[in-house]
Structures are given as structure tokens and as C-alpha cells.
């Protein structure tokens, strides 16, 4: 139900109905997207796009959360591996 793809906003305009529209770049492909539901969105922001609409801003801090977890898990692995040698 949920094919949403993240891309970088490159342009924001307003259409005849007063809706924020724009262009989003997906790694080399540019698509016109409706940005009306993300007030204040600006070029450079990353957004998640579903059927031609930006439904969410990508939060960089939130994006990092799982990698912080992975680092922790990695450190735990290393501790466990070294465990036999701990005094």
C-alpha cells in the first residue's frame, strides 16, 4: 500500500490553486511532486513521495537511530567475544 520513495526537493513553487508544488530529485530522476502537505519545505530537504505527493519530511536524526543501535550491538558483540579474556 505504501510505495514511498525518498528524494531531495530541488524546487518549490505555488500553482494556480495556491498549492505548493515542486520538483524532487531521486538520484538522477526528477519528478513533479505536490508539496502541499509539508508547509515550509525548502530545496535541499528530503521528503518521502507516494503517488506524486510528499507525505513526510525525512528526519536525519531519526534516520540515524538504527545505525546507532547497530553500533551498540557491534560493541556488545566485541565485548562478548573478548569476554573470555576479561579479568
Amino acid at each position: 500500500m505504501c510505495l514511498g520513495v525518498p528524494g531531495r526537493v530541488t524546487r518549490v513553487t505555488t500553482d494556480a490553486d495556491g498549492l505548493a508544488m515542486g520538483t524532487v530529485d531521486f538520484g538522477g530522476l526528477a519528478k513533479d511532486v505536490c508539496l502541499a502537505w509539508l508547509p515550509g519545505v525548502a530545496p535541499g530537504d528530503y521528503v518521502v513521495v507516494h503517488v506524486g505527493f510528499a507525505i513526510a519530511r525525512v528526519d536525519e536524526a531519526g534516520a540515524h537511530a538504527v545505525f546507532a543501535l547497530l553500533e551498540q550491538l557491534g560493541q556488545l558483540d566485541e565485548l562478548a567475544a573478548a569476554g573470555g579474556d576479561a579479568p
Binding site: 531521486f26 538520484g27 538522477g28 530522476l29 513521495v49
Partner: protein, 355 residues
């Protein structure tokens, strides 16, 4: 060649009306004077070559010794013009490539046209000029042809059929059944370019991208590969409609062997990947028109790869998998994360999805 300036890409034409009509009418298919003038002014002028010149019922060619390869294909793509190609050049490349995939040196092509009443003559001329240029560049002349006209509403503009003949040198036997466990599977470059290029200009799907169709004649590159590896080239296949997945499935079935491919090694250009993500398409099922798959023994894989990469059309050639005795007839993919999935034949066409 011809008087009048044509720039197919820009769509400019110095207009030379064929008997004053700007569009195809039923009379152009009647066999009378209108037909004759259409053939003379559009087809014969563009394709001009000695074998075609007699404009007889068929062309007679001297082909020397060897086995004859023959292949036919009909081209119906819409839109007819897309980044990197058009229906005309595609019709040449497609059949030249099919011959090359048999291990044949292409000798000549036929061109059969079904024209819809109402087709703009200007567009027909541009398409034919593009075909002629492609044929010239490939060194494979169009030596005979046919034209029919159908009522408006019965033909979607233009359908083109090209049939090609070629000669297969002795010692070369390319056949899907020759794929043997241990063989390495190579692809000559990035997957999905053509299909995405066509989609990008199709109504309702529009997006701007730098993706261009890879439509190209592969026989030169194939010739180099055969010269280097000879009979060790077991299978060649150009993954056109249905993409690499369909081609690999057909080969696996013919060979009654399994094909194992590695997702991480599939070459896909970034904008093609992006388009596939956006539309929910799998690049493995997207058409290519200037790529080949090659199955060669493991011991010769490095050499084959080097030959491909040395050719302008094979710079991004890569090793993508190998043939196994397991799961005969099936293609299994090892995903980027190390899981496995079957790559099956699709029931029909791959459709974009939102889910």
C-alpha cells in the same frame, strides 16, 4: 544520398510531398502509382543499395558457405520516438541482434511496413531515414520490403517487421541448451535502460531523467567475442521484452539447468534504479535493446569479460551469476542481504505499482 535535409532527432524535414499528400491514404497500399511513388521516394531513396535497386519481388544475395541464420521480429513500440532511439532504428538493431545472438554475421534485412491511414508522411520519412542510418552504421543493408496500408483505427500508426539473414561460421554453435553447470553468466552492461527511457516519455508516467535507450547493434561486439572464445561461447541472448529475468528463465528451461544470479552484481544505472523504485518495477524485468547475456565456461570468463569491456558497447560488462545443477529450469537470485528468491517468469507485462 537524397536531396532535402533531415534531422531525425530535431524532427526537421525539408518537405517533399509524395504526390502532394501529407498523410498516408489507402491508395498508398493499392499497388498502383501512389505505391510506386511511396516506395521510390521514401523507401528506396533512404535504403539505397545495389541489392535493393532492382526493386524486384525479392533480393538475390551471394552468401558463401556456412549455415544460414534467419530471424524475424515485429516492432510496435509506442511512443515511436524516445530518448536514445526510435521505432525505425530499433527495428534494425533488434533483428541484427537476434542474428548476432545466433552467432551469425548479419548479411541483409527486409523491412515490412503496416501503415495506418492518416499517418503523417513526414513522420514516416523520419522513421525510414533513421532505419536507413542504423542499417548503414551496422553495415547491414535493407534489401527488400513490403508496404501495406490499413484503415484508420486498425493500425496504431506504424508497425514494422524486419527479417534478417546471416551466416554462422563453422565451429560456432550458440544454443540455450549448451548452458552447462559451472558456466559463468555475463551481461554486457547496465540493465533496464530501454524500458525506462520509453516509460519516461509515455503519457501519465512522465518524469525527467537522463535515461536513454541503449538501442544498438551488437554484432560487432559479438564478433569480437566469438573471435576470442570461438566455440566456448555457449549461449548468447539479448534480454529484450521481459528483461534479463525472462531471458534467463528461457535459457534455464532449455538447458534444464539452474541459473543462480547475484543481485549485488547486477549493473543498473542510478537513474534507472531510481525510476524502478518510484514505479515499483524490478530492473530484471525491464527491457533492454543494446545488451547481451553470455554464458561461457568459468575458465574463460575473465577473458570474455575483458573482450566485452574493450568494446564501446560493453564498458560496463559484469559477471552476474553462474549455472548450477540445482533447481533445474529455475532462476534463483541471492539478494543483497544474503537471502534467496525465485526469479520467475511474469504472467504478463510488468505493471507499475503503488504498493
Amino acid at each position: 544520398m537524397s536531396a532535402g535535409v533531415r534531422d531525425a532527432a530535431a524532427g526537421l524535414a525539408c518537405p517533399r510531398p509524395v504526390s502532394g499528400y501529407a498523410h498516408i491514404v489507402l491508395g498508398h497500399g493499392g499497388g498502383g502509382r501512389l505505391t510506386q511513388r511511396l516506395v521510390d521516394d521514401v523507401f528506396a531513396r533512404a535504403f539505397a543499395n545495389p541489392a535493393l535497386a532492382p526493386l524486384h519481388d525479392g533480393a538475390v544475395l551471394r552468401v558463401g558457405a556456412g549455415r544460414i541464420a534467419i530471424s524475424t521480429d515485429t516492432f510496435v513500440v509506442t511512443p515511436r520516438w524516445f530518448p536514445g532511439g526510435d521505432l525505425g532504428s530499433l527495428a534494425v538493431h533488434g533483428t541484427v541482434n537476434d542474428l548476432a545472438m545466433c552467432g551469425a554475421r548479419p548479411i541483409a534485412l527486409t523491412a515490412g511496413f503496416v501503415l495506418e491511414e492518416g499517418l503523417a508522411l513526414d513522420e514516416l520519412e523520419r522513421l525510414v531515414d533513421s532505419m536507413a542510418a542504423a542499417a548503414r552504421d551496422a553495415g547491414v543493408p535493407v534489401v527488400t520490403g513490403d508496404t501495406k496500408v490499413v484503415d484508420r483505427g486498425r493500425g496504431d500508426g506504424v508497425f514494422v517487421n524486419t527479417t534478417g539473414v546471416g551466416v554462422v561460421p563453422d565451429g560456432i554453435t550458440i544454443a540455450p541448451a549448451r548452458a552447462a553447470p559451472g558456466d559463468v553468466v555475463l551481461v554486457s552492461g547496465t540493465l533496464g535502460d530501454h524500458g525506462i527511457a520509453v516509460l519516461s516519455v509515455r503519457d501519465g508516467m512522465g518524469f525527467e531523467s537522463a535515461v536513454r535507450s541503449d538501442s544498438a547493434a551488437l554484432h560487432g561486439m559479438v564478433g569480437a567475442l566469438l573471435a576470442a572464445l570461438g566455440g566456448d561461447v555457449h549461449v548468447l541472448r539479448d534480454p529484450t521484452r521481459g528483461g534479463a529475468a525472462s531471458a534467463l528463465n528461457e535459457i534455464a528451461r532449455s538447458a534444464a539447468a539452474g541459473v543462480a544470479i547475484d543481485e549485488a552484481s547486477l549493473p543498473v544505472a542510478a537513474p534507472v534504479q531510481a525510476a524502478c523504485e518510484l514505479l515499483g518495477l524490478d530492473p530484471l524485468y525491464v527491457a533492454n535493446e543494446g545488451k547481451l547475456l553470455a554464458f561461457v565456461p568459468a575458465a574463460r570468463a575473465d577473458e570474455a569479460l575483458a573482450v566485452l569491456r574493450a568494446h564501446p558497447l560493453g564498458r560496463a560488462a559484469a559477471r552476474i551469476g553462474h549455472v548450477v545443477a540445482d533447481h533445474p529450469g529455475r532462476v534463483v537470485l541471492r539478494s543483497r542481504i544474503g537471502g534467496r528468491r525465485i526469479v520467475d517468469l511474469l504472467s504478463g507485462e510488468q505493471l507499475p505499482r503503488i504498493c
